[in-house]
């Protein structure tokens, strides 16, 4: 890769002195490496080292401050632990409901905001994108306050319509609804912007040709917009899937994973195992299980993308 980048330089120096050219370029590469060194060092310290360290740790069990090598025992434990299953089930449930809901909403919004007849388009886009720039913790805390059973804004509003208060964060079903609603609020605008970019990449000629052929609004949407957007929608769906697998902040703050583990996610579970029960070996094994799942999802994404092209 480096060679390709430096090829023009070599050609330039080659004009002056053909043989010295290679040597010059080799010497010229050196400062380049010094420039990337900070990035490499940061990557090694803050990404690679923790990564390998956790892999190493997943083969140990610590009791009484003493680590002992247990081989693959922590990985075997994953299969017998009902909470691992439950946390994956919860994520699956969120995926099946939340990702389609969010991608469809984002698609609808993006399509609307791409219409030339709409006024104040920039303003609307900014408003929809705003949730994506708020911090996870801040918005989760705001949701927690709004969803409080006793005197929360949402329940007060329901009360105005004569409805009895909903136990948002204390019941299994409602806490899942609350979690899905908050993630959807946070990420719809973000996905909308990505889809909007995809929409604007569709050549105007396609629309024009379709209209000449007499296609209606719906036919254009179904036969031109959707197929053209397929890679973008796929990208949104895959990143949202990975995002859901890594869900932590929202359920940690809203429900703490409860009630009865209804909103427990793998990352929250590994956090509890590691930092509340001090079982860092097992927590690392959970982390690597997650790495494996996400790797599979990503490979699937690559394969599908290739096929469609």
């Amino acid at each position: 890769m480096t060679g390709t980048l430096l090829r023009p330089t070599r050609r330039l120096s080659g004009k002056a002195d053909g043989r010295a050219g290679t040597r010059t370029s080799a010497r010229r590469r050196r400062p380049g490496y010094w420039f990337v060194l900070p990035a490499v060092a940061l990557f090694a310290i803050f990404f690679l080292y923790p990564l390998l360290s956790s892999l190493w740790q997943s083969f140990f069990s610590t009791t009484g401050g003493v680590s002992t090598w247990v081989g693959g025992a922590q990985y075997m434990r994953l299969f017998h632990d009902p909470l691992v299953g439950k946390s994956l089930f919860n994520v699956g449930l969120i995926l099946v409901i939340q990702v389609p809901l969010m991608v469809c909403t984002a698609l609808g919004l993006a399509y609307l905001l791409n219409q030339s007849w709409l006024r104040f388009r920039t303003g609307f886009r900014a408003i929809h994108f705003l949730p994506a720039v708020t911090t996870l913790v801040a918005y989760s805390l705001v949701f927690r306050v709004m969803l409080a059973t006793d005197g929360g804004a949402v329940n007060q509003m329901l009360g105005m319509f004569g409805m009895s208060p909903v136990d948002w964060l204390n019941s299994e079903a409602w806490s899942r609804v609350a979690l899905i609603a908050s993630i959807t609020w946070r990420w719809t605008g973000y996905n909308m912007v990505i889809i909007l970019a995809g929409l604007q990449g569709i050549p105007a000629e396609l629309y024009e040709a379709a209209r000449i052929d007499g296609a209606g609004r719906w036919a254009i949407f179904a036969k031109i917009v959707i197929p053209q957007l397929r890679p973008v929608i796929l990208f949104s769906s895959i990143t949202s899937t990975i995002g859901a697998l890594q869900l932590f902040d929202e359920n940690f703050i809203l429900t703490g994973g409860g009630p009865n583990n209804a909103t427990l996610t793998p990352v929250l579970y590994l956090y509890k195992v590691g930092f509340q029960q001090f079982d860092f070996g097992y927590a690392s094994a959970i982390a690597w299980l997650l790495v494996a799942i996400i790797a599979v999802v990503s490979v699937v994404q690559f394969v599908i993308m290739k096929e469609k092209k």
Partner: protein, 435 residues
């Protein structure tokens, strides 16, 4: 040269990796504390809620006696306290000179981080026997070193809204058993529309309180899982019955409990003596509305108290100024006057037994309409059933809370929910289930 640089990243990582197996656990025990050492400099103390208030207040009297010392008390908030401490313990850096650790968290810390806390025995010497013995054992390691100093006890009684009971025509003093309290609760609900108890089911603390009232813990003294015992089923069945009758108000977290009490959502609160501090501090407007009675018993004449929480102060081996830290801890806790003063101002009930002789414990309390509530707590403290804490209490706690939620909110049979929790704990810890 450029080629070799390509390998820098993995090399750096590998060099770092080799260091990781030895990381995390402190290599040496802390410094040996000297009770008579001269102190100076500054320390940082982590605490929360009324405990932090007490430390801040008495820090100034400490610095008056020790002019060279500066005490910096930080209220880190209860919700994040243990996360912060656990991370700092694991990383072996980031802890202040003194930390507040609740009594029931201490055994897990002692077991998992055996070298993380400084032995406080040299500071108190023979005076160790003057602390509540159950607290001393929870704070000691197997070599008998005192790794945190007992601060306050969590003697439990029942806080009752007298106005609600009056409206229902029930005498709060006449409730000897939980059955009688439930009957009273139904009358109160009919008369006032209020629930009986506000609690956060997802913490499981009410269940553990009721279990300890019957003299049992999550583990038996032999270290076996004790969730299938009749006492455990009885405790969970009681909570479920309460909920089924509409007498339970499920709230979220500490803030939820405080808000529910402040708003008068329920008629009674089974809680520890430190709840007085929260009542007088956060809801002075409710003065004269509460009375305190012993906890209802499971059977007539049974134990009428339990334990809920209580704290200790520990000096981590990471402390930069352990001598000053130790001296401050001793000044706060192994000291009759200061313990009495914290009882008076913050409602922190002393674990230091000589303090219980103070006249304060026999004085009428204006907040409770002139009743001598401390006398009641002092009398009940001696009756708290002792239970066994194991290194797995932290691990089991979550599973137990989920069993409580599964049974009470999802209408699972209490015995079945507890059996499945016991099975899970057995798998996770390798412990046996007691027969």
């Amino acid at each position: 040269m450029p080629k070799s640089l390509k390998f820098v990243a993995p090399l750096v990582a590998l060099t770092l990796l080799t260091g990781c197996a030895s990381g995390g656990v402190p290599g040496a025990t802390g410094p040996k504390l000297d009770a008579g050492a001269a102190v100076s400099g500054q320390i940082t103390v982590w605490s929360w809620d009324v405990a932090a208030t007490a430390l801040k207040r008495l820090a100034s009297s400490y610095t008056k006696e020790h002019p060279g010392a500066t005490i910096n008390v930080v209220d880190i908030g209860y919700d994040n306290a243990y996360d912060k401490m656990s991370v700092a313990l694991q990383a072996n850096s980031g802890l202040p000179d003194v930390v507040t650790v609740e009594t029931d968290h201490m055994p897990a810390y002692i077991h998992q981080f055996p070298k993380a806390f400084t032995d406080l025995t040299p500071l108190v010497g023979g005076a160790k026997d003057e602390f509540d013995p159950s607290k001393v054992s929870a704070s000691s390691n197997k070599d008998g070193q005192l790794l945190s100093m007992p601060w306050d006890s969590g003697t439990v009684a029942l806080y009752v809204r007298t106005d609600y009971f009056k409206a229902a025509g029930v005498d709060p003093k006449g409730m000897g058993t939980w059955d009688e309290l439930l009957a009273a609760g139904e009358k109160v609900k009919a008369a006032t529309g209020h629930a009986l108890i506000s609690t956060d089911l997802s913490t499981g603390s009410l269940f553990q309180m009721l279990l300890q009232q019957q003299g049992q813990g999550i583990f038996t003294p032999a270290g076996e899982i004790n969730l299938t015992s009749p006492a455990a089923v009885k405790a969970l069945t009681l909570i479920k019955t309460m909920n089924d009758k509409g007498l339970l108000d499920n709230v979220k977290g500490w803030d939820g409990r405080v808000t529910a009490t402040k708003n008068g959502k329920s008629a009674v609160m089974p809680s520890a003596v430190w709840w007085i501090g929260t009542l007088t501090g956060e809801m002075p407007e409710l003065a004269n509305k509460f009375t305190v009675v012993p906890l209802p018993a499971f059977t007539q004449g049974g134990t009428q108290t339990s334990n809920d929480g209580g704290s200790t102060l520990a000096v981590p081996t990471q402390a930069k100024n352990p001598q000053l830290a130790g001296s401050f801890v001793k000044f706060m806790l192994a000291n009759k006057d200061n313990q009495v003063s914290m009882m008076k101002d913050e409602g922190l009930f002393p674990s230091y037994l000589p303090a219980l002789d103070a006249p304060l414990f026999h004085e009428p309390q204006p907040y409770f309409g002139g009743e001598k509530v401390y006398e009641l707590f002092a009398a009940q403290t001696r009756k708290i059933p002792s239970i066994t804490y194991t290194s797995d209490n932290a691990k089991a706690g979550d599973t137990v809370s989920n069993a409580v939620v599964a049974s009470v909110l999802n209408h699972q049979d209490p015995a079945a929910a507890l059996k499945s929790a016991a099975d899970q704990i057995a798998t996770a810890t390798g412990r046996k289930i007691a027969q």
